[in-house]
Subunit: 174 residues, 2 copies
Amino acid sequence: MAIDDDRMEIDRNAGFVGDYLLYLLAAASDAASADFHAHVREQGLRVPEWRILACLCDEDGQMVTQLAQLALMEQSHLTKIVDQMATKGLVKRRSDERDRRRVRVYLTAAGRAIGTGLVEKARVHEMLIVSRLGTTDAARLKAVLKDIHAICRGGDDAASQAPSAPAELEASVS
Amino acid sequence: MAIDDDRMEIDRNAGFVGDYLLYLLAAASDAASADFHAHVREQGLRVPEWRILACLCDEDGQMVTQLAQLALMEQSHLTKIVDQMATKGLVKRRSDERDRRRVRVYLTAAGRAIGTGLVEKARVHEMLIVSRLGTTDAARLKAVLKDIHAICRGGDDAASQAPSAPAELEASVS
DNA sequence: GGGAAAAATATGCGAATTCATATTAATCGC
DNA sequence: GCGATTAATATGAATTCGCATATTTTTCCC
């Protein structure tokens, strides 16, 4: 009956996909990141490089494997990106003193400069989204996203790490 | 001071990244999907193929470009995956009668069978996460994720589609 | 303390993904 | 109706990405 046959947008509220949590997460992540990722690329960086810089700005000298986990990519892939970033002069490797299997990745001065600059822009960009979303909704969202991460990523630290949302407001909205 | 130097997990609550919305979205999406995506691959499908099947189960005979948008991938990539799926006998192409530039993708019987089967499993898997999250939190989460999608993905249908959050505070940031 | 098992990273290769562009069809202006 | 512009999809080359595995160092156990 409804003529969705032509160039109309798909009705995202009908059907399975439009209300499927995993899809909504992926779609929201994509949509929310698109703008900033475009900005990152305009700066001559690729998204994985930005992620690595951001993670290193938080804590410099991380191990390759940890860094890969944190930056949401595979270890072997991270190794290769770190190669390129080292070539570009954004980071440098140094093997750990105590355990020489480990390789730690450090920011160079240039890498830190670019990284902190982008982090600042990311903060601004995030604030834009948060304000459009409503600060309370945004805060709740972040808490739930952390819960999902804790729940789904091995139940290891789920109980201890996520005291934020679960207890918070069990009866506010509808 | 804190000895996170060794094999301790990175403290996700310290630093920028651990509370950055875009990161939390990506990390939650990855973590939540990991299980089910592994299941999909065990069934001999890749994730993009599963996404296409799911989208076609919702609405069969979609255009290539629309389908790519919905399935969160590039058009040229979708074209290639549809090629492979057609070879596997999961879908078939047919060019649109009225506009022969358009190519519509239809499920075969086999494709529909596999698709509906996976959708059922996805429903079960989703329910597992939702129950661990709390149904009210999950419902709120879905609403906010839809808002984000509407807000960030061009303001096209943001006003009409998202009556839940956006009206809240229109005058906070610049 | 010495050899087996495990941990951390790197490497090679094949598949996936993207980018630019070609190709085909429809629409618009005149 | 005809050429120019736009839309929809396909194609090819270049890159990225992921899996399996090699390599190096450490730990474990006897």
